[in-house]
Subunit: 644 residues, 2 copies
C-alpha cells in the first residue's frame, strides 16, 4: 500500500502501482472523465502511469496549465503521426506544447514542400487518427535501444538529441504507428482531441542555430470541444486586429530599421508624443509623491557591474564590452539603472532624517536577446524603464509600498485596466539559507507587503518560494479587454545591492546602518507598456492620451475659414485637433476619420458657422449633439478629468 | 625687389630680404614698436625673418592671436632658459603656447622635484633674463646637426622628436644660453616680456602616453604690461569662482563616479530638474515651430555608420564595436543622431507638400575622448544634444534658417546672453572640387544663410573656406558675463547624408528629388550648455530656471505654521519654494540663504503673519518691500514672463 496525499493535505491509502486515472475513478466517475494530467511530487505525469511510492498528488482538469500542456503535447505527436502517414520518410526535430497550442519542426525531405494549403489535409488526417482512440504508451528504454530505433528509421535529428542526452534514462511514447523520444506526459489516448486547427507554417533553424538546416515548423491548436476552438479562433482574430505591430504601423507610432538593428524601435512622431504624454503623466504623479529625478549615462565601466554582480550573472550572455582605443578601458551598455543610482546615493552622506530618498529616471537599458526571440515592442533589445529606486529604513518599507501601490492603482484607473491581481512573492520558509538579509528584515518586508496590499483591498495571490534571493516582491497581473493576461508593474525589495555598494545612513543612534532598496517600475518599460496599451485598447487610447483628440470636418470648402478659426481656438486651448480639408463628401470624411480612431469628429457647415457651433460625433458611438466650440473645450476637459 | 601685398590689397615694392619689422618701420615707428608677429602667405613668421619672395603679409600687434602665440611661445623658451640655469641638466620635452599662456614639460632628473613653491624663483630668473634683451635667433639646420647638438646635451626627448621628424628641414631658436628645436615664430628679443606669472605645476606623460615617463608640466602666462597681467589674474580668480565644476558641486547639480567612468556625468536631482526645465522650454518653442519629436536608440549596427560615413572617419578612434554573444552582429554607440533620423525619414514616402519635416530629439550620444582631455561638463564622453534635423527642398532653406535663428535668439534672450556674433562658414570659391553638392545648391544655401542673418540684423563674420565639405554653416559665438568666448548654437546645411541614405521626395513635377538636410542644435549639448550657463551666471540662474525660486525664513518657531501655509500656496502656484526652519537668528538665515543664490527670500514674523504678508528680499539686492503672499505669486509670474 502507498500513502497518497491530496492538495487539502488529506492522506489516503491505495494499492502500490495505482494510476492517477484510477485514483480519480475512486473519487468520482465524472472526475475521471475530466482529468487529463496528474502532478506527482512536483512532476507532471500521464494519468495512466503507475505510482509506486508514497506521494503528494494533484489531479488536473482542462482548466489547468498542466492539462493543456499534456493535451497539446499529445496533439503534436498526433500531428507527427498524420504527417508521417501523408509524407512518408519525414524526419522529426522537436514538437513541444507552447503557451497556446503546439508545433512540430519537421524535415519532409528536400523534394517536398509543405505549405499552408496542405494544412487542411493534415488536419483531416489528425481528426481521422484521433477518432481511432489510439492509446499513448510510455516505454522507458536505455540509450542503445532508443538509438537503434531511430537509426533504423533514419531520423538523424532524434539520433542527435539522444546522443546529446548521454546516458540518461530515456522514455519513448507511441501511438498508432508513430513513436517519439519524449519525456511526456501525454493523454491516455487520442479521443479527447476533438477539435483541431493547424494555424501556420514557418521556417525554424534546427536547434535555433542559423548555421544548421532550416526545418519546417507547423503550428496548431486543439481543444476537447469544437466550441472552445471556435471561441479561441474568434479571440485570435480579435488579437490579430489589435496586434500592436499592426496598429503601431497603421497609427504611425513606431517603426524598425534593419540598418539600425533588430529589436531597436524607432519612435515616430505620434508614438514619441504618446510616450512623452505617458512619461509626463507619471512624472507629475511621482513629483507629488516626492520622487527626485536623476539622469545617468547608458554605459558604465565593467567594474560597476562586477560590483553589482550583474557582470558575473549576465556578462557572457549579453552585449559584449565596449573597449576604448587607448587606456584599456571596458564599458558595458547598462542592463539596469540600479548600479548608477547606487553610485548617486554614494555621492553624499545621508542621515535617517533624509530618508526615504526616491531617485526616478526614465532610463534606457540594453539587454541582448536572440534576434529570433524579438517581437514588436514586447521583446526588444533596448527599452526605457520607468525606473525608480527608493532608499529607506526597514521601518519605512510599508509606507513606501503603500505609496507605490497608490501610484500603480492611479495608472490602472487612468488607462482603464480594471481587471488585475497582485502576486506577492515570498521566500521559501523551508529554505532560508537561499536568501540574503536577516530574518528580522525579511519578516518586516514580507509583512509590509502583505499589510499594504490588504489595506488597499487588493485581490492577491501569495507565492511562497517565488521571491528573488535578495528580497520579496509584488507583481501586478492585468487582464486586457479581450481577456489576455499581462504582467505590468513590479515592486521589488532588495537587500543585496545596498550590501554590495556598501550603502549607509546614519541612524538616530548615531551609528551607521544599511538602507533597504526598493526597485519599482509601474509601467515596466515604455515599450512594453505601449504595446500592452495598444493591445488592450486596439489603438483607441483614452481621450487624455490620444494622439489626436478631435478632427474638424467642414461640409464644404466654404466653411474652411470657420474650421480654421475653431482649429486655432482648440489647439490654443491644448485640445489636439486636426482639420480634414479634403474635398470629399461629408459621409466619406466621417467614415475615414472613424477608422483613424480619433475620439471626436466635429462637423461644421452653414448652421454651425453661423451660430459658432460644432456638431459633435463621438468615435464609434455617433452624434452626441451640437455645442458652441468654446463649450466643446470644457466638455473635453471634463472628460479628461474623469479619466485621471 | 619683391612685391609685398597688404591686407587692403595694396602692393608695395621692397628690397629682397626685407623683414616684417623693417616694413613696419617704413610705415611708422610707433607701429614698429607694437608689432610682434607677421603672417607671410598664410604662415606666421618672426618679424625679423627676411622675406625673399613676393608675398601677402599681415602685421600683428598684441591684440591678434598670432602675436600672443609668438609672445607666449617666446616666454616658454625664456622659462626653459631660467630652469636650465637654476636646475642644470634638466631635459626638455615640448613647450608650446596655449590659449592662455604657455607651458613646458620638463624632466629635471629623478632626484629633483619642482613644486609650486619653486615658481617664484623661476619667475624672478625669467624677469632677470628678459631684461637682458636677449635676442631670439633662428637657424635652419639639417637633421644630423640638430641630432648632434642634442646628443651632446644629452636631451633624449628632443632626440626622439628629431628622429620622428625624419629628413625634414629643422629650425633651431636660441636666446642667451638656451637653444631649442622649434618651428617658431618668436619675438625679436626678450624685452617685451615685462610681466610674468607662473601658475601651476602638473604631471604629464611624455607624448600623452601613460606607459611613458611622467614629466613635470609648468604652466605660466606673460604680458607686455603689468596692468594686463593684473587684469588677467583678476579674471582668472573670477573664472575660478564660477568654475562650473565648483558651482555644480556646491549647488548639487551633478557628480562623477570613478566606477561609472570618467567623463560620464551623473545628474543629481537639482541638476536633472534644471536640465528638464531647459528641455521643456526648448520643446515648447520647437513645438510652436512645427518640430516633431522622435526617439531613437543609443546604438546602431555598424552598417548604419558605414552608410553614413562616420565609421570610416571615426571608427578607429572612438568607442569600439559592441559584439553580440551569438549571430556575429556588431553595434556602435551612436556618435550622432543623424543616421537614425535619416532612417526614420526613409520609413515613409514624402511629397514636396509634406516638407519641411523637422525631427527633434534630445539624443544622447557617446564619443571617446582621452581621459586626460576630459573636463567637467564641457569635455565629456557622453552628452545629450538638443538635436533636430530638418529635411526640406533647396528653396525652403532660407525660411528654415530664419526660423532656427529665431529660436536661437529667443534662447539667448531668455538666458541673458546679450553679446554674441554669428560666424558664417562658406566654401572656398577657389577650391570647389573639395565640396559635394551642385554649384546651384551651394549658392542657394550660402545666399539663404547670408540673407537670413542680414534680415535678422545679426552681427556676422564671414569665413570663406571654413564650410564643411558637405555644406555651409552658421555658428553663434557668445561672450559670457566675464568676457570669455564660447561657441553655442550651430546650424549646418548637409548635402551629403541625403545622398548617402538615398533620401527622396516627390516634387510637384512628379519626379523624385533629393531633400536638403539641416542639422541644428541651439544649446549644442545639455552638458556643455549647462556648464556655460553656470560660468556665465556664476550659478545665479534666471528666475524661471532657478532650482529654487524663493525661500521662506520664519523669524522664530512661532511663525512656522504661517510659513507652511505660505509654502503650500506658493508650491501649488508652481513657485518653487522652500522653508528654512532652522532655529537660527534671522540675520544668520538671511546670510546663509543669500549664499545659496535663491532669487527671493521671504521673511515672515508677527506683522507678516497677521496681515497675510511676506517681506521680500531680492538676492544680492536687499529688501524690496512687503506684499500679500498671493501678490508675490503674480509678482514672480510677471518677472518670469519678462525673461521669456
Amino acid at each position: 500500500m502507498i500513502n497518497i496525499t491530496f492538495p487539502d493535505n488529506s492522506v489516503r491509502q491505495f494499492e502500490n502501482g495505482i494510476s492517477g486515472l484510477e485514483i480519480a475513478k475512486s473519487l468520482s466517475n465524472s472526475l475521471a472523465r475530466e482529468i487529463l494530467a496528474i502532478t506527482v511530487d512536483k512532476e507532471i505525469w500521464d494519468i495512466t502511469r503507475p505510482i509506486n511510492k508514497d506521494a503528494s498528488i494533484k489531479l488536473h482538469k482542462w482548466g489547468d496549465e498542466e492539462s493543456k500542456h499534456a493535451f497539446w503535447h499529445s496533439s503534436a505527436h498526433l500531428m507527427a503521426e498524420a504527417i508521417e502517414s501523408l509524407y512518408p520518410g519525414t524526419k522529426f526535430g522537436i514538437g513541444p506544447a507552447i503557451e497556446n497550442g503546439f508545433y512540430y519542426d519537421i524535415d519532409p525531405g528536400d523534394s517536398v514542400q509543405i505549405t499552408e494549403s496542405d494544412l487542411p489535409d493534415i488536419e483531416n488526417k489528425m481528426k481521422e487518427l484521433a477518432s481511432q482512440k489510439q492509446v499513448y504508451t510510455r516505454k522507458e528504454v536505455p540509450t542503445d535501444e532508443a538509438l537503434k530505433i531511430f537509426k533504423e528509421k533514419g531520423d538523424e535529428y532524434k539520433i542527435e538529441l539522444i546522443t546529446d542526452l548521454g546516458d540518461a534514462k530515456l522514455s519513448l511514447y507511441s501511438q498508432g504507428n508513430f513513436t517519439d523520444l519524449c519525456r511526456g506526459p501525454h493523454l491516455p489516448d487520442t479521443s479527447p482531441i476533438k477539435a483541431i486547427k493547424l494555424l501556420n507554417v514557418a521556417g525554424a533553424y534546427w536547434r535555433g542555430d542559423e548555421k544548421r538546416k532550416m526545418l519546417t515548423r507547423i503550428y496548431g491548436i486543439s481543444f476537447p470541444k469544437q466550441s472552445m476552438l471556435d471561441e479561441y479562433l474568434v479571440l485570435l482574430e480579435k488579437a490579430r486586429e489589435r496586434d500592436h505591430r499592426k496598429v503601431g504601423r497603421e497609427l504611425e507610432l513606431f517603426t524598425f530599421s534593419q540598418r539600425v538593428g533588430s529589436g531597436l524601435p524607432l519612435w515616430l512622431p505620434k508614438g514619441a508624443q504618446l510616450r512623452e504624454r505617458l512619461e509626463s503623466f507619471l512624472k507629475k504623479v511621482q513629483q507629488k509623491h516626492g520622487y527626485l529625478p536623476v539622469i545617468t549615462p547608458h554605459i558604465g565601466q565593467k567594474e560597476l557591474y562586477v560590483t553589482s554582480g550583474h557582470y558575473e550573472k549576465y556578462g557572457k550572455d549579453s552585449f559584449q564590452p565596449i573597449k576604448t582605443p587607448q587606456e584599456g578601458e571596458e564599458f558595458l551598455l547598462k542592463p539596469m539603472n540600479c548600479p548608477h543610482h547606487c553610485e548617486i546615493y554614494r555621492s553624499r552622506q545621508f542621515s535617517y532624517k533624509d530618508l526615504p530618498v526616491r531617485y526616478a529616471e526614465f532610463g534606457t537599458v540594453y539587454r541582448y536577446e536572440q534576434s529570433g526571440e524579438l517581437h514588436g515592442l514586447t521583446r526588444v533589445r533596448g527599452f526605457t524603464q520607468d525606473d525608480a529606486h527608493i532608499f529607506c529604513t526597514p521601518d519605512q518599507l510599508k509606507e513606501e509600498f503603500t505609496k507605490v501601490i497608490d501610484i500603480i492603482l492611479y495608472i490602472f484607473k487612468a488607462l482603464d485596466f480594471q481587471d488585475f491581481t497582485a502576486q506577492i512573492s515570498l521566500r521559501d520558509p523551508d529554505d532560508k539559507e537561499k536568501y540574503i538579509g536577516s530574518d528580522e528584515n525579511w519578516k518586516k518586508a514580507e509583512d509590509a507587503i502583505i499589510e499594504a496590499t490588504q489595506e488597499k483591498g487588493l485581490v492577491t495571490v501569495i507565492e511562497k518560494g517565488e521571491a528573488a534571493f535578495y528580497g520579496p516582491k509584488l507583481d501586478f497581473m492585468v487582464r486586457d479587454a479581450i481577456g489576455r493576461k499581462w504582467q505590468l508593474g513590479t515592486i521589488q525589495v532588495d537587500y543585496n545591492l545596498p550590501e554590495r555598494f556598501d550603502l549607509e545612513y546614519v541612524g538616530a543612534d548615531n551609528e551607521k546602518h544599511r538602507p533597504v532598496m526598493i526597485h519599482r517600475a509601474p509601467f515596466g518599460s515604455m515599450e512594453r507598456f505601449v504595446a500592452v496599451l495598444i493591445e488592450h485598447t486596439g489603438g483607441k487610447f483614452p481621450l487624455w492620451l490620444s494622439p489626436e483628440q478631435a478632427v474638424i470636418l467642414p461640409i464644404s470648402e466654404k466653411y474652411h475659414d470657420y474650421a480654421e478659426k475653431v482649429l486655432n481656438y482648440l489647439n490654443n486651448s491644448d485640445i489636439r485637433t486636426l482639420i480634414d480639408g479634403r474635398s470629399e463628401k461629408i459621409g466619406r470624411k466621417i467614415r475615414d476619420n472613424e477608422l483613424k480612431k480619433i475620439p471626436y469628429l466635429l462637423i461644421v457647415g452653414e448652421k454651425e458657422a453661423e451660430a459658432g457651433n460644432v456638431s459633435v460625433r463621438k468615435q464609434g458611438e455617433g452624434d452626441i449633439g451640437t455645442m458652441k466650440f468654446e463649450e466643446f473645450v470644457e466638455f473635453i476637459k471634463t472628460e479628461v478629468e474623469k479619466q485621471l
